[in-house]
Symmetry: C2
Subunit: 372 residues, 2 copies
Amino acid sequence: MNTNKNIKTLIVKKPLQLDCGKTINNYPIAYETYGSLNEKKDNAILVFHALTGDQFVTGTNPITNKDGWWSYAVGPDKAIDTNKYFVICSNVIGGCMGSYGPSHKDPNTQKVFGTNFPVITINDMVNAQENLLDHFGINKLFSVAGGSMGGMQVLQFVSNFPEKTKTAIPIACTSSHSAQNIALNELGRQAIAADSNWNEGNYISKDTNPNKGLAVARMAAHITYLSKKGLQEKFGRKLQEREDLKFSFDADFQIESYLRYQGSVFVDRFDANSYLYITRAMDYFDLPRKFKGNLSDAFKETKARFFIISFTSDWLYPTQENKDIVIALNAIGVDVGFVEIKSDKGHDSFLLDVPDFLNALKNFLDKSYTEN
Amino acid sequence: MNTNKNIKTLIVKKPLQLDCGKTINNYPIAYETYGSLNEKKDNAILVFHALTGDQFVTGTNPITNKDGWWSYAVGPDKAIDTNKYFVICSNVIGGCMGSYGPSHKDPNTQKVFGTNFPVITINDMVNAQENLLDHFGINKLFSVAGGSMGGMQVLQFVSNFPEKTKTAIPIACTSSHSAQNIALNELGRQAIAADSNWNEGNYISKDTNPNKGLAVARMAAHITYLSKKGLQEKFGRKLQEREDLKFSFDADFQIESYLRYQGSVFVDRFDANSYLYITRAMDYFDLPRKFKGNLSDAFKETKARFFIISFTSDWLYPTQENKDIVIALNAIGVDVGFVEIKSDKGHDSFLLDVPDFLNALKNFLDKSYTEN
């Protein structure tokens, strides 16, 4: 449980019945805000983070001392302009940056939950975060936005609270996790479970840490965030600080060093059990299922204006899966814009400096706000 | 070291200088044959296996009691017709089905090599296997054929021994391992190394086994052998023997059970250190590099007729990488045929019942043989 003084926390008293059937209450949601809420309280944007993100969207993350995960997109004069908008982001429940999760203590036993924490869903995450609106006295958000799992939360939020946002921006996401994506998440979970230090999830009480397994999970995921072409252009077969092959199992190639580094820094900021819970929530995400397979029905109560963004080289959440959402919205006459951004940076494009993407995001928001 | 009586072994006395600089001699090559060598000794096809294959191409593998890995393609009246052709296949050096590898004893120390086995390359594998021609008294093969790493060996064989085969069939392969493929192999190696039972490769002497890490490596690789579309059509979001989600970390989805099963059966037949050595050999494969970047130069001495085959949904060795070989051969006027087979079965297509592929393979071989 992260008790860092830089983490702002809302304790939610209202009981929340989870999809698994259990009910939680008096649970913490850790959040951060950027910019100022205006008097009319109509300039708030709720940003949802992806699998390994957190509430520290921009500026310096006070825990890692690195840039916030969406620094390219959020900040003064940026696409999500904090001179104009009030940005709220919270750590998802199940996470490890202060919100209620598996590293917290079970109030009934006073023992760390571990895998006794209830399995949560994207629906549960969104229902928990909606409490932030009451906290700030906001009746209606100006927008909800997020990429990857953040985009899934956007879809779920609009479906659950159709009157509570003026616009919605799901980016590089899907309405239903594919078999390949479930497979890739299961790979990460199995890598963690294969680490004998995982101890069936009880590593905190046993004072061990499945860092090796978690690093392997991260390496696997990291490969999927980049495109084949992007990897080839950035790394190709470049060797690591040497002229020739070393004929050993050291990191000969730069791509090997890069992956090992990505794994090693990740374990310093992320919790293995949270990785299990959040990937599980993604795999369980299947919005049409609640509506007998008809995705349009998920959105039939909303007047929100949608803007959907995909990336050409994203093979994890390819354009077609984003377009399927556009089609479902078009079918019921919802106001929806769509753009496929050309980028070789793969799924990670939404986190990176991709000017066409950032301009499209800024234009949609600013135009929609002017028409407010 | 596999000492099963079903394994035929050739002890190669001739010293072989490896790319790493070390020399080996008196080393075993385990092989199998199918069909009969004719009097003219001009009907032999040397088949090269892929990463986790072995010499048991067709019929029942006597070690695993399962079908040989290329049973769809090789056998009486099949594409590679053993009524007509004499098929030879050997386990690669570095492997674990009888050929010289890391589970063998170092003759100098009488201790199991483990990671003290020399790092080998595709070039080393091919040079070792060429000894089988002398063994059978074959001056010139009718064909060399293989998919994936087997295809790399085809390319290397023709480059090293331009006069020793009449035809060559590289399938679903590349002339140079890409950054993404190195990354995926490194992921597998890191999964093995993360298993505390790996013991820096000395697990045999310590009587442990990094089965969990090896299973994770296999799961990762298995995902890459299938296409996104193929996975979606076969598994989608189907649940495993239940009506609804279980809200646990058990295998809810069929794709999860399938992956876990693939991992668990693999460790019964494969050695973790061999996995490290063979993936390393693949990553080191860069045929143009030996010819100052000009792939055509690798083939300028050969008169062999090539037939190159790729598959539409293979994202590991996509059509473009196969076409690059065609282009290099065309540039120097080598006789080369090429076909891209439409299949949703991904990289694994070459191992499966894909009639268009099997027919193309059969037609090329039989036509070339008639013109013999």
